[in-house]
Structures are given as C-alpha cells and as structure tokens.
C-alpha cells in the first residue's frame, strides 16, 4: 500500500497507513512522552500526556491513538503542545501523593521521569491545589500490594490482566473523581482470582502496584549468627539482574551474581537450576508413567505458581492433568532442610532458605500450606530480582567490579536443561530431552520452540509421536485448556507459563520491560544452554549423587514425601 506523507517538526516523513503519530514521531527521532501507552498492550488514549499540535487547525491530538493522514503538518514542540503536556502532567501530580522519597519506584518511575524531563518543579505542582484521594492501601500480600492513591488511572494493569492474562482481577470502579483501579469489593489480591503473576506491577508506570518486600527479613537472617542462610537463584536471574547495574538486556552475569550473594553474607549460594534438573527427573518419570498407561494426558507442567493458582480457580476439573511435582523453588527448599542439612550435619531449624526469583507468585507459593516437607517452613523468604538488586546497591557493592564466582557444588551443579527453565519452552524441551534419551538412547535435536503465545512440536519416540505444546500468557493457556476440557486436544505434554516469554518476563524482573527486552533475555538463556557441557538433566553428576545417596529413585517414596504436592479447587469468583 502507498505510504503516507506528513511532516513532523518540519521534517518530511513517510510511514505506512495506520501508523500512529507517536510511532511516526519516533521515526522522526522524537520521543514523545506518554504514560497510558504501552507497546505490548492495546491503545487506551486516556492520559493526554502525548498530545502534539496539528499545525493546520491548531488542535491537539493524542499521538498514541491518532493515525497518520496524508499532508499532516504536526509539531511536537510548539508552545501549545508543550504547555498542554505540562498542564496534563501537573494535573496528574495535583492528585498524587508526590512522596517519591518513600516510594518503591523512586528512580524507576515513569511519572517521575516525565516530570523531570518536562522541567516541572515544585512551584508548578503547588500552582494546582485540589482535593487529594485518600484510599486505604492494600498491604495484605503475600505477593503484591497496592496503593491506589499513587494510581494515575492509566489502565495498563487493567489491560494486561484482561488482554494478556485473561484474569481481570483488576478493574476500574466508581466514577469521576472517585474512580480507582481496584479488585471486586476492594478485596486483597490474595483473596481473589488473582494469579499473583505481577504483570500489573511490571506495566504500572508508578508505584501503585509493587511486590511485598521481604528485604528486611533477609537482612535480619543474614545478621543472625544462629542461622545458616542458604540461597538459590532461579535460572532467569543471571540473564536479567545485569540490567539493574547498567548492563544491556540479555547480558548473562552468573559469576557476578554469585559473587554478590557471597558478599552479602549468604553461607551457601546454590542454583534453582539444580532442582530444575531434579524436576525433570521427577516430572519426566511421571510423564513416562502417564504415557505408558495413557492416563491424565496431556500432562501439564506445574512449575509456574501463577499458572497453578489460575488453574485452581478456573479449571479445577483439570487439576489431575497437572504434574504433582513441586516447582524447582519448593524442591530446592525441601531438600535444603532435609538432604543438605543431613549432608552438612546442620539442624534444619537453623537453616534459613532464601530464593531469588523473577516472580511475585513465588511469594504466594511459599505460603501454601500443603507445600512444606520439612518440619518448619521450607522457603523462608523470596526476593525478586529487583529486591536483590536493591540489597546489593544498599551496601554499595560495585557489581561490575566483582570477580566471577561459581555456585557451591552440592546443590549448585546444573545442566543446560535446568538453565532454560527460565524461558518459555525450556521446561518442555528439558523434559523431552530426558524422556527421549531414556526411552531410545538417542539424544534429542533442539525443539527450538518459539517465544510467543502458543507453539507446538512433535517428537517421534520409538514409533510413537509425542505432541508437545508450550504456552505463555494465561489468556493463551485458556485456548488450549478449553480444548482439553472438551476432549479435543491430542497433546501429550503441555508447558504453561503465566508470564509472556516465561520467567524472563516475570513480575519481579527489572523495569522497564517490553517484548524486545524479554526476547533478548530468553535468547541469552538458550545460548547459555547451547554452550553448556552437560545439557541433559539426568547426566548432572550431583543429581545422580542425590538419587544414589538419598532419594533412591525418581517418583519413589522419599521423592513423593519431599518433592511432590497437591492442588485444590478454588472459587472462580
């Protein structure tokens, strides 16, 4: 189709029809500020921060929603456009607590950045005085907390929850000045159909939705000489935490991550990739059994706690399809207080287990009653990538100057299969690798499943075709689950991750984030896997040791006691 000609700030631009003015301006090298706009979501056009002037009739156009037209003459920098943008931001600030110093998003807040860039100062803010919202805060947790007083009603969280996750736990309610984004009857997120995935927190431009911080508890544990503090880092952290210290998205900083944790004072630094390998052993054995008996197929993964809670609310009749294997986090924590305690001769009561996770739902998972295998709580604290970065910054560790270290061996040794747990498709690939080799003795060529939405693959194992599907984003999961429910699915193995791109796109990862960043992070994990010497979970020598000296066999009685769990039906609404 013919391109559209227009001028922006006196520069001639040619763009395809349908392009928005915001995108066209980007092409002209102009970054128009915006707040309600998010590249991964539908367009809303509510905040009016992105207005630019149409020089032909002097009208102001919201650039994020207005499509280009032939012959348009626009100015992003006219007095009128600049004044309007400043006024609109000032109006947002007039009903904002403006307590940046005590805000979780201080330094990563889009409203703060725009205020700074537009040169809005205290006098400007004080110029507009009005009534200020005073709504109670939801601090209940255990995963997320909300402060509606900070909310600028951009609707990003509402859209991500509906469009990407299909959950709609958050909605606009009330009207006019009283409008707020909230849950039904203002219930805490922990008490409703919320999956705790934290995608809302990743798209929130301000500090209205953030994770419940456990930093204080972890510092206290590290200070306590009576406690032996071990930590596990989830596979994706190595590919994301660098962003917090100025590295490009997708830079893998495993050695520095371990060194930083060591400096913070953890007694042992282990990797969740070790128990990802273990998950493959347990889940693989379970899948083999199901395939042989042809029961409860498709086998659906259970390592993502956001997905598990979503299933409990929306598909209780399919819970028998979920693997009974615990998530790698919970397997690690269970072993840290049993196997590890025994090997090191430590009192399990004195072990404090911290997980570094990309995820807010993991904070909820650790609180599940049925999940604990040891006498005490298996996982004591969960820190998101963002929280860990804050701790490292607090004590002034110069991340880039750290000398690479390696994981402690007993529960740190892992394979490439464990590494790719951190990105979409990784769990399925790792499982099929082990299952195929166990059955045929032949290694598996890469499935190389794509990143977005739903992807399918077929693997031939001993004349039998195994149909694998991977899904990320709960809205996508709904499509496959509806097929399963109607008995129309012919899949054998389905991997489901709540967050787009899997854990690299998790609710606890560094901000800001968009599709492109997530893809770079995921690519890095796949690359790390390809470079690993050992790429199949069952070849991990420490896993072999764990079975020979402690668990005996996958899916055996000891495994069941420590590494498997159950699920329960929860109300849909």
């Amino acid at each position: 189709m013919d391109k559209i000609n227009l001028t922006i700030d006196n520069k001639d631009i040619k763009v395809p029809p349908g392009t928005t003015l915001l995108k066209a301006a980007e092409k002209a090298g102009i970054d128009v500020p915006s707040l309600c706009y998010h590249p991964d979501l539908t367009i809303h056009g509510a905040c009016r921060v992105c207005v630019i002037e149409n020089l032909k009739d002097n009208s102001l156009l919201a650039s994020c929603v207005t499509p280009v037209q032939n012959g348009m003459e626009l100015s992003t920098r006219s007095m009128k456009a600049r004044k309007a943008r400043r006024r609109n931001v000032k109006l947002l600030l007039a009903n904002h607590p403006n307590d940046c110093l005590g805000c979780d998003r201080n330094g990563s807040c889009e409203l703060q950045d725009i205020t700074h860039n537009l040169g809005i100062c205290r006098e400007d803010i004080e110029e507009i005085q009005g009534e200020v919202r005073k709504v109670p805060r939801d601090q209940v947790g255990p995963a997320l907390k909300r402060d509606p007083n900070k909310c600028i009603l951009c609707g990003r969280c509402v859209r991500v929850c509906e469009e990407v996750q299909g959950v709609s736990a958050l909605q606009f309610s009330n009207r006019g000045f009283d409008s707020i984004v909230t849950t039904a009857f203002d219930l805490p997120q922990s008490e409703i159909n919320c999956a705790n995935c934290g995608q809302c927190a990743t798209v929130c431009p301000v500090g209205a939705i953030t994770e419940v911080s456990e930093i204080k508890n972890v510092w206290e544990a590290l200070e306590d000489d009576n406690l032996h503090v071990v930590c596990q880092t989830a596979p994706s952290i190595q590919a994301t935490i660098g962003e917090e210290f100025g590295y490009k998205a997708g830079t893998v900083v495993t050695g520095k991550l371990i060194a930083a944790l060591d400096k913070l004072g953890f007694d042992r630094v282990f990797s969740t990739e070790f128990t990802a390998d273990l998950t493959i052993m347990e889940e693989g054995a379970e899948f083999l059994q199901r395939i042989t008996k042809n029961e409860n197929l498709p086998h659906i993964t259970s390592c993502c706690p956001g997905w598990v809670k979503y299933a409990e609310h929306n598909y209780p009749e399919l819970l028998n399809h979920l693997s009974s294997a615990k998530s790698p986090q919970q397997m690690f924590s269970a072993l840290s207080k049993t196997y590890y305690a025994e090997k090191e001769g430590l009192d399990p009561e004195k072990i404090y287990t911290v997980s570094i996770m990309p995820c807010t739902a993991k904070k909820f998972e650790k609180e599940r009653e049925e999940i604990n295998a040891s006498q005490s709580k298996d996982t004591d604290a969960v820190l998101t990538t963002r929280e860990l970065a804050r701790m490292i910054k607090e004590v002034g560790i110069k991340f880039e100057m750290l000398e690479d270290k390696e994981y402690d061996i007993l529960m740190g040794k892992h394979t490439g299969a464990g590494t790719i747990f951190g990105t979409t498709g990784g769990v399925a690939e790792a499982a099929v690798r082990t299952v195929k080799e166990k059955l045929t003795g032949e290694p598996l060529n890469r499935l190389d499943l794509g990143f977005k939405g739903i992807n399918k693959a077929e693997v031939v194992i001993n004349d039998k075709i195994i149909r694998v599907a991977i899904v990320n984003g709960l809205k996508n999961a709904e499509k496959i689950l509806k097929e399963v429910k109607k008995g129309q699915s012919n899949y054998d193995f389905v991997e489901i991750m709540a967050c787009p791109h899997g854990c690299v796109g998790g609710g606890g990862q560094p901000l800001p984030v968009d599709e492109k960043t997530k893809e770079l992070r995921g690519n890095s994990l796949s690359h790390t896997d390809r470079q690993s010497v050992v790429r199949r979970s069952h070849k991990n020598p420490m896993i072999e040791k764990l079975y020979s000296e402690y668990l005996k066999e996958p899916n055996g009685s000891k495994s069941h006691q420590l590494l498997h769990t159950s699920y329960k039906k929860r109300a849909k609404n």
Binding site: S168, Q171, F185
Partner: protein, 162 residues
C-alpha cells in the same frame, strides 16, 4: 461464597436468581439488564449473587463490580422499604430544603445515603424532581410531598413509621 448458610438455605436464596438467568443468554451485553432484574428481586446486589452472575457470564467478579459501581442505579447495600428523596435543587434550597433534610436525618438517625438499621427507610438527596412550584419538596417512594417544613415533614414520616 461468603455466607454461612446451609446448602438448602443457599439453594433457596439463589432460586429467584436462577429464574432470572433463565431469561438471558450467557453474553456479556446482558450484564446490565440482569443486574436490574436482580436488584428488583433482591432489593440490592449482594456479593454472593454478583459472584454467581459473573460466573454465569464468564466474567470476573471485578469486572461486574466495576459496572455496578459505575452506575448510581445499582446498590451494594440493602435498601430500606421506603426510599426518601429530598430535593436539593435551587428552588428547594432557597425555600429551606436543607432544614427539611436535617430534620429527617435527626428523626431517623441516619445521614444522607444511609439506611436505618431496621431497613425501613433509605435517605437520599436528588438534584431536582421538577416540582419547583411546590418547593421544598420530598418524595417517599412514588408519592410527592410539597411545601415541606421541618414540622410538617414529621407528620409525613409518621404515616410511614409503623
């Protein structure tokens, strides 16, 4: 479900709702008419009922809550048997509408927007009911009472107090 009633009680409670839902297909656009019918039947929109409606229409409770709180016609709390509407339009205001309102508030011991504990009265203010010639005006249910004074309004209320 929030209530602690027995299975039989809750089934009985939900019966009128099930009757209403029979008239509607499970399409999102039916939400508002269903809410209107349900409010007519139950007098307000209880949380348990809203959960059922949300599930019926394959919506989340938050989505239904968003719609309910958007429209002033919907009520989340039980309403009184008699609805008192006090006009606060210009004409009524000038002729002493606020004293009438104060008198009612004092007499029933409720504030504007509230319902008495015995569920006999709900008190609301309205902007204008189009009877400015009779100002100050109040309405109780569908009856209009004009030229109110703080004394007269007590007699009118008396007619409704059992």
């Amino acid at each position: 479900m929030v209530c602690n009633c027995t299975y039989e009680e809750s089934t009985k409670y939900l019966e009128p709702l099930q009757e209403i839902l029979k008239n509607y297909q499970t399409i999102e656009k039916n939400l508002v008419p269903i809410l209107q019918d349900v409010q007519d039947e139950y007098g307000y929109l209880p949380r348990d009922i809203l959960s059922e409606i949300a599930t019926y229409l394959d919506l989340s409770l938050s989505q239904v809550f968003g719609v309910v709180t958007f429209y002033s016609q919907f009520h989340l709390k039980p309403r009184g048997e008699n609805i008192i509407r006090v006009c606060t339009g210009t004409a009524c205001h000038v002729r002493g509408g606020s004293e009438v309102l104060e008198q009612i508030q004092e007499e029933l011991n409720i504030k504007n927007g509230q319902t008495t504990d015995d569920l006999s009265f709900t008190l609301e203010t309205v902007a204008c009911i189009g009877a400015c010639g009779l100002a100050p005006v109040i309405m109780i249910n569908d009856e209009t009472y004009g030229r109110m004074t703080a004394e007269k309004v007590l007699d009118v209320l008396g007619e409704y107090i059992e």
